[in-house]
Symmetry: C2
């Protein structure tokens, strides 16, 4: 049976690919593993620049440094694409505790990204919910004037951790709006992590002009569990939060773009990218430092292996994925204005762990093509190619590109460290990052050679 | 094409498995992910017991602790299987340096496991080789009285890191014998790691009664590179090594065995195991702490999901995998004496990273069966099932068991930490260990239900 399947697979495979592609794959992986610069670059980025939230000095340093590195890899052209970005700062470290019988229990919290401050100490009661339905079912007086505590955990039993994340992330994204609509004074959100620990995980939240803005903070999972237990014993306990975050004026920033001009179809584009910015809590080794050095490495790999793409390959490093995808939106807008034909837009923003394949949003015909290429990736353990929408920075190109392609990595570790102080260089394995860079380069090579 | 392959796959799949197996898989993974005890156990093992080299007090503590944990999971029987093991100790930390123009350059070294001591400071010249052929080609006078420095690196371009490891491990295993045969006074071996760092990686070496025993040490890769550069400039430099290792008298130790009696074929065995011992440099979180807690978890998962195997499931924790596989050899000897019928012997000793599938040594008929089961593992990202001999503790059962099965894990990270001070709890991800335990339990469930 196995033999039968294999034989069918190979015969079709032979029609769409050939041994020159296998040789090319070998060259790219070999170069990345033996002479790769991803690790050197990631060490520099994490140790010398560090956290680089959009609008910050470090974000600007990242623009300048990545442009310098890309220039060393000798693209045919390199330029900055202006984009105006928000500049949110956390300010002094948050203070937070609940009070039961006059005793204060400290909570580990972090303001959610873009939250307003509390304007001094904000003290109120707390009501815990685990779903929108629970919130909707509460009488007004149970919510009004209180903190709404969104305590739905990521589903530990879900095999795809991205699904588990998405299954709980609505609380972070929409919690403050929903709570404010019911008259709450603040939103407390359980951190999106499978871990039970003391580290709060920040991330984007949003406001709605129709309701007042209220402060929103992430609680570490241990703090969330403590608070939930305390509320069971004393539903009338008081919770205190102080946050100093400020939304500063918007800042002029940039996407960084470098190109290798296509030899045959220079007006058709295959982009490969990652995002320049991080949240402010850590050096963002995984999100998205790894992706950033991988995207740059694709250019180096093309040059080092003397690979001349038939279609133009464009490295695009997006500014501000984390707080509104302004860079990606601007990129898509400019591409539309110039009427550029995009075959595929590719990104790496899944953590930089061992590559497993790709998640792709495309037409059925193009998907059949990707499935045929699958065999080429299997020897590199990256043959898991599935239809799925994933990358935030790809979405603005949805109408303009034939395929939106996200590098898929082993998803075990990402959410343990994501958007928290834990996202540091020591969590990253240099070989995994190098393999991911080669996997992206191989996909870029195929699309730029065959089209879709 | 994809659809065609899938349809063929599914129709055959339907003949050999059924939805009850899918449900069973779901139960096992869900239980491991939601209520698993692997992480709690691994934390205990690494923090409270730590390094547990065969013959040590900590090895004995590990025997007692694992027996206690297994007993809590309510096996039908549990017992210790006596095995006599060697007891090697490193002694005081090694001293090592080379001297050029009166200047000493310190080298990071660790005695290889089972090496003899140097009997004080041992100073001699060094000759570097990267292959057996290079050593063979050297004239006697170039080797006699010197250290032979085996400096072949793991092949960074090899996709399978186990292959890269095996492609260089012969230097560690056989270097001292080969060097001694040519009259050398010591063997220096480049550490088996893809990293460039300062940490020496120890591991088993061997002696041959036909030639004198000479001391053997691993050099960190940075030290090896430094020494190699220094030798190019001054081939007559002197190298000094002091090691205090001692081979103490053999010690009475144990394998730990727990069983769930088969309901239908109690005299047919499916074993699942890992090894109790480590090297002495670290707490062995990855090698093989993860495997140890996974093997114990298989018992817990069977009980928690009320799974009654038709064949007897035996958890077997082997003593002294690292320095001669004495436990595994004794296990196989006793199994032979009792004429026990072993269907499959399964182990986890690949680092405890994200499970990817299995490496199996078996008959073509049994392999076809495994390939049919593959579909069940794919939703859990563990469907990579290949013919390959791997596990050291399985080899003694080769003549007696239908299949030798090693859990295969993502291989990116293992050799960065393997057998060095870096093999600590913080390198391990709790979800990956839990997924591996469920993957082993699922394989045990299939083999104990269907046979081979
Ligand atoms: Zn990101
Ligand atoms: Zn081991």
């Amino acid at each position: 049976m196995v033999t039968v399947m294999l034989a069918i697979g190979l015969s079709v495979f032979a029609q769409v690919s050939n041994s020159s592609d296998s040789i090319l794959f070998h060259k790219l992986y070999n170069e990345a593993l033996k002479n790769g610069e991803t690790d050197m670059n990631l060490r520099y980025l994490t140790s010398r620049i560090g956290a680089r939230i959009s609008g910050s000095l470090q974000a600007q340093q990242t623009v300048e440094w990545t442009k310098k590195v890309l220039a060393q890899y000798k693209p045919d052209s390199i330029y900055l694409q202006p984009v105006t970005v928000p500049h949110w700062v956390r300010g002094t470290k948050e203070i937070s505790y609940y009070t039961v019988k006059g005793r204060r229990v400290r909570m580990d919290v972090a303001a959610l990204g873009r939250s307003i401050s509390t304007d001094g100490l904000l003290t109120a009661g707390v009501v815990e919910v685990r779903s929108w339905a629970e919130l909707a079912a509460l009488p007004n007086k149970a919510v009004k004037g209180k903190f709404v505590f969104f305590n739905r955990a990521m589903d530990a039993g879900e095999i795809e951790t991205f699904k588990a994340y998405l299954g709980a992330a609505d609380q972070r994204a929409q919690g403050a709006i929903a709570a404010s609509r019911r008259g709450a004074v603040g939103a407390l959100v359980r951190s999106l992590t499978p871990a039970k620990d003391d580290y709060p995980h920040t991330g984007a939240m949003s406001y709605d002009t129709a309701v007042p803005k209220i402060p929103a903070a992430a609680l570490s999972t241990n703090s969330a569990d403590l608070l939930s237990d305390a509320l069971k014993k004393d539903p009338s306990l008081h919770y205190t939060l102080r946050m100093h975050c400020v939304q500063l004026p918007d800042v002029q920033s940039y996407n960084v773009i470098a190109e290798i001009r296509g030899t045959k179809y220079p007006d058709e584009y295959v982009t490969v990218g990652a995002h320049l910015d991080t949240w402010d809590l850590s050096e963002g080794a995984s999100d998205d430092g790894a992706g950033l050095v991988q995207a740059m490495e694709v250019l180096r790999l093309f040059r080092a292996t003397a690979l001349q793409p038939e279609r133009t390959v464009r490295i695009i490093l997006y500014m501000n994925e984390e707080a509104g995808a302004h860079g990606a939106i601007e990129y898509a807008k400019q591409a539309r204005l110039r009427n550029e034909k995009h075959i595929a837009v590719i990104e790496s923003d899944a953590g930089g762990f061992a590559p497993r394949g790709f998640r792709i949003e495309t037409t059925p015909e193009a998907m059949a093509r990707f499935q045929q290429w699958k065999e080429l990736f299997i020897p590199y353990k990256a043959g898991d190619i599935q239809l799925q929408q994933r990358g935030v920075d790809l979405v603005p190109m949805k109408e303009q590109a034939t395929a939106l392609i996200s590098l898929d990595c082993d998803d075990s570790r990402l959410f343990y460290i994501h958007h928290s102080v834990l996202d540091t260089y020591d969590k990253i394995n240099p070989r995994e990052v190098a393999m991911g860079a080669a996997t992206m380069a191989a996909m870029v090579a195929l699309v730029s050679k065959y089209g879709l």
